[in-house]
């Protein structure tokens, strides 16, 4: 059995995995799951508490909150996952190149990465969004750039330790080129820890996306995002507390689930020590 499935055998990992599958499935099947549109306002129905028609109540425009939560999962998950994928891709290329070629390239990359590592991700993301402008694309790029340092360092550390292994020396003495060694031997071996750490970073990215959304910098209305919904709800805490509570819960539970599942995965892959060497 492959590791991601084995992780389900851990009680926490299994529970967390099920929640993640549920959220992802709901996000994918959003239009099939709900009879409401996420953007059609029905002002006379505003501020309705939970009822049979609206399981989680309605927001300040009379829109069904559950519908917006499900569509919000689409935004939050797709933005964070895409951003982290970009980040992993760039980080791996940079880290591998730095470790393999060494010299000035390594020094430059390490310096830039260490420099950006010294700023919190939220700060980098905020600056970038301010430059690019608000919206999902801006947030995606901002989150991607904010996490590049992490993956560059991790990949570099992995490649550095693998570089001296006998099988690399063997490949080189058989006449393999740089590209062959990098893409066929080094990166596949460095992949597992990077992917697990990417998964954990996705959890952080969801929070970052929600934070930027809360500041009004993420998905622009009427497109829902969990952060944006919480931001609108923050003005309604007294009048309609459910508008902020449910998206907040969604963020919290999803991020905890990602972390628990990630932990189970780390145990199954037995890569705890390798993850630590990167950070």
């Amino acid at each position: 059995m492959i590791a991601p499935l084995r992780a389900f055998r851990h009680p926490q990992g299994g529970l967390a995995g099920c929640w993640l599958i549920l959220v992802i499935a709901a996000a994918l099947a959003a239009p099939l799951l709900t009879p409401y549109a996420y953007d059609v306002q029905n002002l006379p129905q505003a501020y309705q508490p939970a009822s049979a028609q609206h399981w989680l109540g309605t927001d300040e425009f009379g829109r069904d909150l559950l519908t917006r939560l499900i569509y919000g999962a689409r935004t939050s998950l797709s933005v964070s996952a895409t951003a982290i994928s970009i980040s992993v891709l760039c980080g791996m290329v940079l880290g591998a190149a730095a470790a393999w070629f060494g010299g000035w390239l390594d020094r430059t990359v390490t310096m830039v990465v260490d420099l950006s590592w010294s700023f919190p991700e939220i700060l980098i993301a905020l600056i970038l969004v301010a430059i690019i402008g608000p919206g999902t694309t801006g947030v995606m790029i901002a989150i991607a750039v904010a996490y590049i340092a992490q993956f560059t360092r991790l990949t570099r550390a992995q490649i550095m330790t693998l570089k001296g292994e006998t099988f690399i020396e063997a490949a080189r003495s058989l006449g393999a080129g740089n590209a062959h060694i990098l893409f066929r031997h080094l990166l596949p071996n460095a992949l597992a820890p990077v992917l697990v750490s990417a998964m954990l970073a996705t959890g952080d990215a969801i929070i970052l996306e929600a934070t930027l959304g809360f500041f009004g910098l993420g998905a622009q209305p009427p497109v829902p995002s969990w952060g944006g919904m919480m931001s609108a709800g923050s003005a309604l805490v007294f009048k309609a507390p459910w508008v902020i509570i449910f998206p907040g819960l969604a963020v919290a539970v999803t991020v905890v689930a990602i972390n628990l599942y990630g932990d189970a995965l780390i145990t199954e892959l037995d890569i705890r020590s390798r993850l630590r060497s990167g950070a």
Binding site: D39, Q41, P134, Q220, P221, L236, K239
Partner: protein
């Protein structure tokens, strides 16, 4: 034994005295929260600033004060007289008035101050534009020689923008005037100012020249005022509820119910001076076509917004001016009301046919526009309703949110198409301010520059010899602007404030159009 007893008694009385003193000291302080639409004012320089907050009116006195019925009364000027032809005004000034830095206030300073409007770069020169020169008649008499009759002079002189600044320090401090230091004759002095965060004012102990509209003409009753800038209404409300602040200078309609639920909080309302509206950039396609502008303007359902966003508090706006102004009484045909049938017909006529997904199309292009708003939650909520109302006639508007303090700079780029914003002013010359062809970008967010409008504008601003003519000219100018649809009027709120009744004792009557110097002079802190 006796010694010890005495000592104990002494220390007890000392600490008791200290306690009483401490209580007295805290009792004379009050913390106010600035109105959310005044957050981020970058300076207290009334000659240069395009936005001034409530604290400005406490630092600077005006020559005349205005009562709640909009009549004019003495303040730094004891009396005044207008020449029959309107070409000269003579003001008798109060004696014994001094600026915060000790400089005396007299005819010379008034003359120097009026000249600052001519020599300082900025937008506010028009305030004193009709004054050709100020002449010193004697130490406490000054005569304004006019370049043309200006029926609006007393209004200008009563506005915060014509708060009398101390001319010497103004010249010496340059751009720092109003930021690091500021000297007026007002009932409060500036102690500290952190832009966008907090302003602390302390009482001017020697103040004896309060406006006639206030009951108290002497020093203010409160010793120290802190004005905090909190951009988010619900955060400000929480601060009020938990006792962190004593007074909110603005409360949105949807929080008024929450305020009234609390036993120790109360709402104070005064007639509104705000208009909420949607500027339409007339230079940006598709809004360079007047039909599309009219369609967008008439897609706005003001009644629905009043009921759903503002809980029915306030009134709908159907012109650019608050309805208390006579210039707002334009013919019914010029008023802008919700008319979706007309919107749809106009868009059809302009070639925008209804396409798939409810968005209109022309030459393969969807009718997609940008809609700017600021980050305060009430603006965002209103903007989302506007977005849905535009969508109902087939206009897809994409919302972009900017920080409240940076959005003015964004307008200056001229890239906006539609926006949702509000202004606060109670004179018809606001039409000139927001639609004058020489202020494109900001304040003229609509980028409106129309030759006929400019003609009418000139007549309204400078062509009137008396008040009746001014009203007629401004009504005509206002009416013409409305028919060109550079904006859609949305809503007129009431000025709603909230305060802690355990801490603040309001004066019985606030005889002023807004909560300003007169109210602050009479206001008391309890205990």
């Amino acid at each position: 034994m006796t010694q010890l007893f005495r000592k104990t008694l002494l220390s007890a009385s000392v600490s008791l005295a200290a306690l009483i003193a401490a209580q007295a000291a805290t009792a004379q302080e009050a913390v106010f929260v600035m109105a959310t639409n005044e957050v981020g004012a970058p300076t207290y320089n009334p000659i240069k600033a395009t936005m001034l907050n409530t604290a400005t009116g406490l630092l600077f006195d005006r020559l005349v004060s205005q009562a709640a019925d909009l009549s004019y009364h003495p303040w730094l000027a004891e009396s005044w007289e207008e020449a029959p032809d309107g070409m000269a005004w003579t003001f008798k000034l109060k004696q014994g008035v001094t600026f915060h830095n000790g400089e005396p206030f007299n005819a010379e300073t008034v003359k120097a101050w009026i000249e600052l409007f001519k020599t300082t770069e900025g937008e506010n020169g028009y305030m004193a534009e009709a004054i050709a020169s100020a002449e010193v008649v004697d130490e406490y008499t000054v005569k304004f020689v006019m370049s043309r009759p200006e029926p609006n002079l007393l209004y200008n002189l009563s506005s915060t923008f014509m708060g009398v600044v101390e001319p010497k320090s103004f010249a010496a401090l340059g751009d720092n005037y109003g930021v690091t230091e500021v000297y007026g004759t007002g009932p409060f002095k500036l102690e500290s100012f952190a832009i966008g965060q907090e302003t602390v004012l302390v009482r001017n102990e020697g103040y004896t020249w309060g406006p006639e509209v206030a009951a108290n003409h002497g020093p203010a009753k409160v010793e120290r005022l802190t004005f905090r800038e909190i951009p988010e209404d619900s955060t400000a409300f929480l601060e009020l509820k938990t006792g962190g602040v004593d007074f909110l200078l603005s409360v949105p309609a949807d929080l008024m119910g929450e305020v009234q639920k609390e036993a120790n909080l109360a709402v104070l309302t005064m007639p509104g001076q705000d208009v909420w509206y949607m500027p339409i950039n007339v230079t940006k396609a598709p809004f360079d076509d007047i039909r599309v502008r009219e369609a967008a303007a008439k897609a706005i359902n003001q009644e629905e917004i009043l009921a759903s966003v503002f809980g029915g508090v306030g009134a709908v706006a159907d012109t650019f001016l608050i309805s208390a102004l006579p210039e707002s009484h334009v013919p019914d045909g010029a008023k802008i009301h919700y008319d979706p049938a007309r919107s749809n017909a106009l868009l059809d006529e302009a070639g925008w046919a209804m396409g798939e997904g409810g968005v209109r199309m022309k030459d393969g292009q969807p009718l997609k526009v940008t809609l700017w708003t600021q980050s305060d939650s009430i603006f965002r909520r209103l903007t989302e309703v506007v977005q849905a109302q535009l969508k109902a006639v087939g206009i897809e508007a994409e919302i972009t949110t900017f920080d409240s303090s940076t959005i003015r700079d964004q307008y200056k780029t001229g890239e906006q198409q539609l926006a949702v914003r509000s202004y606060n002013w109670d004179n018809a010359d606001i039409v000139d301010w927001f639609f004058g062809g020489d202020r494109l970008g900001y304040p003229n967010v609509s980028m409106f520059n129309d030759p006929k409008a400019e003609e009418l504008r000139a007549a309204a601003m400078t062509g009137a010899r008396n008040m009746d003519e001014r009203i007629a000219n401004f009504t005509a100018y206002h009416e013409y602007v409305l028919t060109q649809f550079p904006m859609a009027p949305i809503y007129q709120p009431v000025q709603a404030m909230a305060y802690n009744t355990d801490r603040i004792a309001l004066p019985e009557k606030i005889d002023a159009p807004a909560f300003g110097a007169a109210a602050f002079l009479d206001l008391q802190v309890k205990e």
